[in-house]
Symmetry: C2
């Protein structure tokens, strides 16, 4: 075969592999959230994703590896969405900038899918502590780390003042998120606040945050 | 029988009833936390508490009623402990007063038993939404309501300033509790912060709270 043909076929193989992998992840997410971690088996995931069980195992060594991949990709996507899409502050108002950041974080995290995932791993901490540990590290811990770096930048520009960027990031994170998160955890997806209420909570949280950490204009 | 004898026997009956009720609640708490809500049955609770299944049902109409009673008594006890034992502010320092309140709340709530209960109901929100609703109402919502009344008193004495006592109470609650609660939820009982760390988090949370809501001296 000509070199170009071989290359095209290799690319098509790669495309098919990536497609299968995506189908497995999508099906697995459905099954995990519906049946719980213990109640999920690889046969059902294979059947739902339209691939063989062997293909599932070729992509993911175990049920745990598959679950960890789901948590990672979901939390990475959410974190990137909040962080990478963040506008630059420029000459703008720091309060408005932080309110926007807070609202985008709330809107990205307070989704039925992520709330269901969080409830699932919390309910399984006793039996499967590793699952929640992954969610903790890739979710809130990573988000607060990214926020701490943003805050260091803002402090460098004279907008914020603090001793410990991680403590400031934690206070910001929980001032903004906790009420909505607690309600969603305990009262279910239907209790996730609507966008207008999330904006109100973002603004109220930022006001308290800036009273403590703002450096004036 | 003489009146005194009848009365003494009636009191002994009441005492035995109360004792049986306590034994059932204690046994049920163990079984629920070990086996989960779905995995718990009334036979096991009866066996562990040393009473007949009939006696269990005489005290609690259903598994749900029994669970609700456990959540209620555990959260009421915790809330009362934080709230009723609170010292009066008097002429003292409002920051020290709030730090003490915050620390006592953290120490009362961040216990393995309450964390296990919270994880259990969160994991069952999909199947048994009523359980978490009870925890929400008797736990954080009640605690924040009591806190709001404390804050209204402090505002009346000129120590705090706010538009909405419930928003101030929510900010206080989550500034102080969220980091520890999130860690305990996701990393398990062994990750519950030690008293010195809880004191540090209480002090940091109060500092931010007072920057926004303090009224100076």
């Amino acid at each position: 075969m000509a070199k170009a043909v071989i290359q095209a076929e290799a690319e098509a193989d790669l495309g098919r592999s990536a497609q299968k992998r995506r189908a497995i992840l999508k099906a697995a997410t459905e099954v995990f959230l519906k049946a719980g971690y213990l109640g999920t088996n690889m046969d059902e995931i294979a059947a739902l994703s339209g691939v063989s069980k062997q293909t599932v195992y070729k992509n993911f060594a175990s049920k745990e590896a598959l679950f960890v991949e789901i948590v990672s990709s979901m939390t990475n996507m959410t974190g990137d969405m909040v962080h990478n899409d963040a506008p630059k502050l420029g000459d703008g108002d720091v309060a408005a900038y932080l309110e926007d950041y807070a609202y985008r974080q709330l809107a990205a995290v307070l989704t039925p899918r992520i709330m269901q995932l969080r409830r699932l791993v919390i309910g399984e901490v006793g039996r499967f502590p590793e699952l929640a540990k992954v969610l903790y590290e890739r979710g809130p811990l990573r988000a607060m780390g990214m926020l701490a770096r943003v805050f260091e930048g803002l402090a460098g520009q004279g907008h914020l003042r603090f001793d410990d960027a991680m403590v400031a990031a934690s206070h910001f994170n929980w001032l903004v998120m906790s009420d909505a998160l607690n309600v969603a955890m305990l009262l279910g997806d239907a209790a996730i606040p609507k966008p207008a209420e999330l904006r109100r909570q973002a603004a109220q949280g930022v006001r308290v945050f800036l009273a403590a950490y703002g450096a004036g204009k």
